[in-house]
Symmetry: C2
Subunit: 345 residues, 2 copies
C-alpha cells in the first residue's frame, strides 16, 4: 500500500500563494496578513494537509523533546525529580513529555512510540519494572533513543543510571535506631519484588545482624510504599503482643500512614515507638512529629539524569554502544527529626 500525503505544495496551489507563504503562515501566523492566513487555513482544510512534524524535525535532526516514563504520578516522590529533569532540559532547549506507565499495557501499541519511532530524542525511565522489558530493547542500538534509568533500576542491568545507595542508606537508618538504644527493631517493606525494597531490606537486615541483634519474621511488615500500607502495619503493630520499639519504613508515605494511624489509636510517637522513613518528602519536615528519614536528593537525581541523557544524546549510536556505561550513585543523608527517641522504659 502506498500513501501520498497532501504536501505543502498542494496547499500552496489551492491557496494561490507560494510554499514559503504557507510555511510562514503555519509556523508564525501572526507574521502574515489576515487575508493570507484565511487563504492558507482554508487550503489546509480543503487538502486535509497535516503539518509534517517529522520532516520538519528531520531538517534539524532532532525532535527537541525527551520523554520520561514514570511508574505512578500519584506518588509525590516523583514530582521533584521531574522538576529537576525539566529544569535542565528546558535550559538545553528540550521539551519534556511525561507519561505515567501505570495505565499503560506493555503490549499497548502506543507504548513503543516513545522508544523506536524517533518521536523523542531521548528517554528517562523512572520505572524499574520497565528496565527488564523487551520493549526497551526493540529495534537496534542505531534506532533506539538514548536512555537513562533513574531511581529504580534492575541490579543485573547494564544501563546508564542515576541512583542512590539504597542499601547503605537503610543501614544508616538502622544504625541510628540502634545507637538510640533500640534492640527490638521492625522493618516495613515496600512491594515484594521491587528492587528498592530488596536493597533497603538487605541494608537494614545487615545493620541489625552487625549489631548482634535479631530480626524475627513477625517484625517484618509487608507494605507497598503507600499511606494505606502504613495504616495496616500500624494496626498490626498495635494488635501484637510482642512488638518492636522502633520501625524502619521503606518510604515516608508508609511512615506517615503508620504514625497517623497510631495517633488515631492514641499511641504516641516517639514516646511509645520510634519511626524512621525513607525519601524525605517535603511534608516530612512538617509532619507531627517531624519525621526522621533518609533524605533523597530528588531534584539532584532529576538534574543528574537529565545531564547524563544530554551527554548520551551527543554520542553516536556506535559510541553509545561501545563506551563504558555511566552509573552515578548520589550520596544520601539521614535527617534526624523528632519521630525517633530512645526506647520507652
Amino acid at each position: 500500500m502506498t500513501f501520498r500525503a497532501p504536501s505543502i505544495r498542494d496547499v500552496a496551489k489551492v491557496a494561490g500563494v507560494s510554499t514559503a507563504s504557507v510555511s510562514r503562515t503555519l509556523s508564525n501566523p501572526e507574521l502574515v496578513s489576515e487575508a493570507t492566513r484565511a487563504l492558507v487555513f482554508d487550503a489546509v482544510q480543503q487538502t486535509g494537509y497535516r503539518i509534517n512534524v517529522s520532516a520538519r524535525n528531520l531538517r534539524k535532526q532532532a525532535t527537541s523533546a525527551i520523554a520520561v516514563l514514570v511508574p505512578n504520578l500519584a506518588n509525590p516522590f516523583f514530582a521533584r525529580i521531574l522538576s529537576g529533569i525539566a529544569e535542565v532540559m528546558s535550559d538545553a532547549g528540550f521539551s519534556v513529555l511525561i507519561t505515567d506507565t501505570t495505565p499503560m499495557s506493555l503490549d499497548d501499541h502506543h507504548f513503543p512510540v516513545f522508544l523506536s519511532l524517533n518521536q523523542t530524542d531521548g528517554l528517562i525511565v523512572l520505572d524499574g519494572l520497565l528496565a527488564r522489558d523487551a520493549l526497551l530493547n526493540r529495534g537496534t542500538p542505531a534506532t533506539r533513543a538514548p536512555m537513562v534509568f533513574a531511581c529504580e533500576w534492575n541490579e543485573n542491568l547494564v544501563r546508564p543510571s542515576v541512583t542512590i545507595d539504597n542499601e547503605a542508606a537503610a543501614g544508616r537508618a538502622m544504625d541510628h535506631l540502634i545507637s538510640l538504644g533500640h534492640r527490638r527493631i521492625g522493618v516495613l517493606n515496600g512491594p515484594r519484588d521491587n528492587v528498592l525494597t530488596k536493597a533497603r531490606f538487605k541494608g537494614a537486615e545487615a545493620a541489625i545482624h552487625a549489631a548482634g541483634l535479631e530480626l524475627p519474621q513477625r517484625w517484618i511488615y509487608d507494605g507497598d510504599f503507600t499511606l494505606q500500607s502504613g495504616v495496616r502495619a500500624a494496626a498490626h503493630w498495635h494488635g501484637a503482643q510482642d512488638r518492636p520499639t522502633a520501625i524502619f519504613c521503606a518510604s515516608d508515605e508508609m511512615a506517615m500512614g503508620f504514625i497517623g494511624e497510631l495517633n488515631q489509636r492514641a499511641v504516641k510517637v516517639p514516646d511509645e515507638v520510634s519511626v524512621v522513613g525513607f525519601d524525605d518528602l517535603e511534608i516530612a519536615a512538617h509532619f507531627v512529629p517531624p519525621l526522621t528519614t533518609i533524605h533523597q536528593p530528588r531534584e539532584a537525581i532529576g538534574r543528574a539524569a537529565a545531564r547524563m541523557l544530554l551527554d548520551r544524546m551527543n554520542l553516536s549510536p556506535q559510541e553509545r554502544e561501545h563506551q563504558p556505561v555511566p552509573k552515578l550513585v548520589l550520596p544520601v543523608d539521614l535527617v534526624i527529626r523528632k519521630s525517633t527517641a530512645p526506647p520507652p522504659g
Copy 2:
C-alpha cells in the same frame, strides 16, 4: 527551500527488500528474520531515513496522543487528576503526554508544538494562567487542537471547562467554623492573582459577612498554596496579640505547614486554634490531627476533563466553534475530621 526526506522506498532499495518488509521491520521488528532486520536497520542508517510518524498518523487521521499542561508537577494536588485523565484516555486508546509549564517560557519556541502543529489530538490545560495566553489562540479554530480547561480557569473565559464551585466550597468551610462557635476567623490565601484564590476568598468573606462577623485585614494572611507559606502564616499568627481562633486555609499544604509549625511552637490544634484546609490531599486524612478540609474529587475532575475532551475531539472544528461551550461544575464535600473544634475558653 525544498526538502526531500529519504523515503521508505529509498530504504527498501538500499536494503534490497520490499517496502512492505521495511514497514514490517520498523513497526514489528520481532516478526521478521534477523537477517532482514539487519539489512533494514543498516539501510535506515545509510539513508538517514526517519520514520514519518505524521504520515503514519495521517492514515488513521489521529496522532493518538493528547497533551496535558500542568502548572507545577511538584504540587501533589495534580497527581490524581493526571491519573484520572490517563485512565480514561488509555481506555480510549490515547497516550497522555504531560508537560510542566513552570520551566517553560511562554515565548519558548517549543511551547506551540503542542498547540498548532497537530502533534497532539487534544489538550487539557490545568494551568489557569495559560487560559488567557495568546499562544493558546494561535492559528484558527480549524488548526487548533481541541482543548479543555480543568481546575483553574479564567472567569471571563469562554472555554470548555471542568471545575468545582470554589466560592461555595469556601463558604461551607467558613460556615462549619461559624457553627462551631468561632467568631474570630482568619483566612490564609493562595497566590494573589490566582483565580482560585479570588473565588475562595470571595466565598469565605461572604460567609463571614452573612454571619454578621468581621474579617479585619490583620486576619488575612498572604500565602502561595505551599507548605512554606503555611509555616510563615503560623509564625505570624503566633507572634500576634490579637489573633483569630480559627483559620481557613485555601490549600491543604498551607494548612499542614501551619499546623506543623504550631506543633513546633507547642501550640495544639484544635485546642488553641482550629484549621480547615482545601483539597483533601491523600495525606490529609493521615495528618496529626487529621485535617478537616474541602474534598476535591480529583480523579473525577481528571476523568471528566478527559471525557469532555474526547467529546470535543469527535466534533469538527466548525461544530466546536458553533456549539455551546460545555462547562461542568463538580460537587465538593466538606470532610470534618479533627483539626477543628469549638473555640478555646
